[in-house]
C-alpha cells in the first residue's frame, strides 16, 4: 500500500499507521514546524510521552534512531531516516490560549495547532484531555546548560524530510503549524508532503 498527500499550511491530518508502515514527512519549502501527536491505536490513553522518550534516550532532540515511547513504555514509532538532524520535543503546540499569554491577549483570534488537533483528533474519538505532548518536526528549540529555552530559526530547508516506522499500530495526528508570531515557521507557514507505505 502506498499513499501520499499534501497538508496545507494550517491544516491537519490523522491516520492510523499499521505496525511496520512508514510515514515520511517532507518539509517542501523549509522551516515548517509539523506538530505531531502519537497514540497507541488500540488504547488512546497510552499516548506519546516526551519525558519518557527523552529521559530514556538521554537527549532532548529526536533524530535517526530515536524511539518514541508512550507513557507506559511502549515503542510507538522509530525515526528511521532524517535529513534535518534535529527535531523538538519540548515546545509543545500553540493554542489560542497560550498565544494570549505569550504574545498579546488580543491574539486569541489567530489560528493555532490545538484547534487543528481537536478537529482531526475528534474524528478518532479524542477529546481535549487526550491532547498530550507532541513532537515538533523540523523545529529548533535549544536548551542551555543554564536552563534557558529559546525558539531559534529552523535548521530545516526545502526538501528535508524525516521518516518514521510504526512499531505498533499508532494513531498519528498532525497539525501543520499556522503560527505567525514566532520564527518556528519563518513567519510564513507552508505546505508539507506526507508519504505512507508498507
Amino acid at each position: 500500500m502506498s499513499y501520499e498527500t499534501i497538508v496545507l499550511a494550517g491544516d491537519g491530518w490523522a491516520q492510523v499507521l499499521k505496525q511496520g508502515q512508514h510515514l515520511r514527512i517532507i518539509d517542501l519549502e523549509g522551516n515548517q514546524a509539523v506538530d505531531t501527536l502519537f497514540y497507541n491505536a488500540h488504547d488512546h490513553a497510552d499516548h506519546y510521552s516526551a519525558v519518557n522518550t527523552i529521559a530514556t534516550q538521554g537527549n532532548i532532540y529526536l533524530t535517526t534512531g530515536s524511539k518514541l515511547l508512550s507513557h507506559a513504555g511502549n515503542v510507538l514509532v522509530t525515526v528511521v531516516d532524517d535529513t534535518c538532524g534535529r527535531h523538538d520535543t519540548l515546545g509543545g503546540a500553540c493554542s489560542q490560549e497560550s498565544n494570549m499569554v505569550r504574545y498579546d491577549i488580543g491574539k486569541r483570534y489567530m489560528h493555532a495547532c490545538r484547534q487543528t488537533f481537536l478537529k482531526y483528533g475528534m474524528q478518532h474519538g479524542l477529546e481535549k484531555r487526550d491532547l498530550a505532548h507532541n513532537v515538533n518536526f523540523f523545529m529548533n528549540v535549544p536548551v542551555t546548560p543554564e536552563g534557558k529555552l529559546t525558539f531559534e530559526d529552523g535548521i530545516s530547508e526545502p526538501g528535508k524530510y524525516v521518516e518514521l516506522r510504526a512499531e505498533m499500530d499508532t494513531l498519528v495526528v498532525i497539525s501543520n503549524c499556522p503560527q505567525l508570531n514566532n520564527p518556528c515557521n519563518a513567519y510564513n507557514p507552508t505546505p508539507v508532503k506526507l508519504m505512507v507505505w508498507g
Binding site: N59, E97, S98, R129, H133, K148
Partner: protein, 237 residues
C-alpha cells in the same frame, strides 16, 4: 495578612499524596534529609481537563527549569500555581517519572509481605492510583514537575542528572492561583544514579496566604506572566 500555617504533615519516602488547594493557599515542601525528589501533577480542581502543561510553562517563560518567580501554566493560558519561595534554585520539568519498570530494573523488588511500608513503590503507578481517587486515569497523566531535582542539558541536547541539588532543610513553596488539585509522589528521580531503593521523606505545610498583589514578583517577572495573571484573575476571583 500574615502567612498562617494551617497544618503540616510528613510524606514517607515512596508515598503518593494529594491535596486540593483553594486560591489563597500555599503548599510548602521541605526536603528533610537532603536529596529528596517529589514528582508532582497539577489540575484545575473544578475542571480537571485543564491541567499543568509543561511546554506552555517552559515556552511562556523561556526556561527549562523552575524556581522562585516562575509560574506553572495550564493548557488554557492560566496559572495554576506560582513559585513564591525557593531555596533550591532548580526544579526539573524534563526528567519524567519513576515507573514500575524503572523500579524493577534498577532497584529490584522489595515486596510488601517482607518489607511492609518500606516496600518498593513507583511514582508513576502511585500517581495513577491517586488520580483514580478523583475519577482521573492514566489518560490524564502529564509530565511531572520534579521538585528538588536538577537535570542539565548540554549543547548537544544530552541530559545529565546533577546530584546534590537539594540539601536538608531546603524548601519550595507553591501558591495556588485557582482551586488546584496537586498530586505528589516522594520517590526517586528516574535519572538518579545508584541501585539502592531509599526514597527520601519530605514535609508538607499548608498555609493561608494573601492574594498576589499588584507588585507580586511572579506577576512582574515577565510580561507573559502579567498577561497570565490577568487571564487567571478573569477566571478565578
Amino acid at each position: 495578612m500574615q502567612d498562617q500555617i494551617l497544618w503540616e504533615e510528613e510524606l514517607h519516602g515512596g508515598q503518593t499524596w494529594s491535596q486540593v488547594l483553594e486560591r489563597g493557599m500555599s503548599l510548602r515542601f521541605t526536603d528533610l534529609e537532603g536529596g529528596a525528589n517529589v514528582s508532582c501533577l497539577f489540575y484545575n480542581a473544578l475542571e480537571p481537563t485543564e491541567r499543568y502543561n509543561m511546554p506552555d510553562t517552559l515556552k511562556a517563560q523561556h526556561i527549562a527549569r523552575l524556581t522562585k518567580g516562575f509560574v506553572l501554566y495550564s493548557d488554557m493560558g492560566r496559572i495554576l500555581c506560582s513559585i513564591t519561595d525557593d531555596t533550591v534554585g532548580w526544579h526539573d520539568p524534563l526528567g519524567g517519572t519513576l515507573s514500575a519498570q524503572h523500579v524493577k530494573a534498577k532497584y529490584g523488588e522489595k515486596p510488601y509481605q517482607q518489607h511492609r511500608n518500606d516496600w518498593t513503590q513507583a511514582a508513576r503507578e502511585g500517581l495513577i492510583l491517586e488520580l483514580a481517587k478523583y475519577s482521573l486515569s492514566v489518560r490524564d497523566l502529564t509530565p511531572t514537575l520534579n521538585l528538588f531535582s536538577k537535570v542539565q542539558v548540554n549543547e548537544l541536547g544530552q541530559m545529565q542528572y546533577i546530584p546534590g541539588n537539594s540539601k536538608a532543610g531546603d524548601r519550595v513553596e507553591l501558591r495556588a492561583e485557582m482551586k488546584v488539585l496537586v498530586l505528589a509522589s516522594a520517590n526517586h528521580h528516574p535519572l538518579e544514579p545508584g541501585n539502592v531503593y531509599a526514597p527520601k521523606p519530605v514535609k508538607v505545610a499548608m498555609k493561608r496566604v494573601a492574594a498576589p498583589a499588584a507588585d507580586d514578583p511572579c506577576r512582574l517577572s515577565r510580561p507573559e506572566n502579567g498577561r497570565g495573571f490577568i487571564l487567571t484573575e478573569r477566571y478565578a476571583q
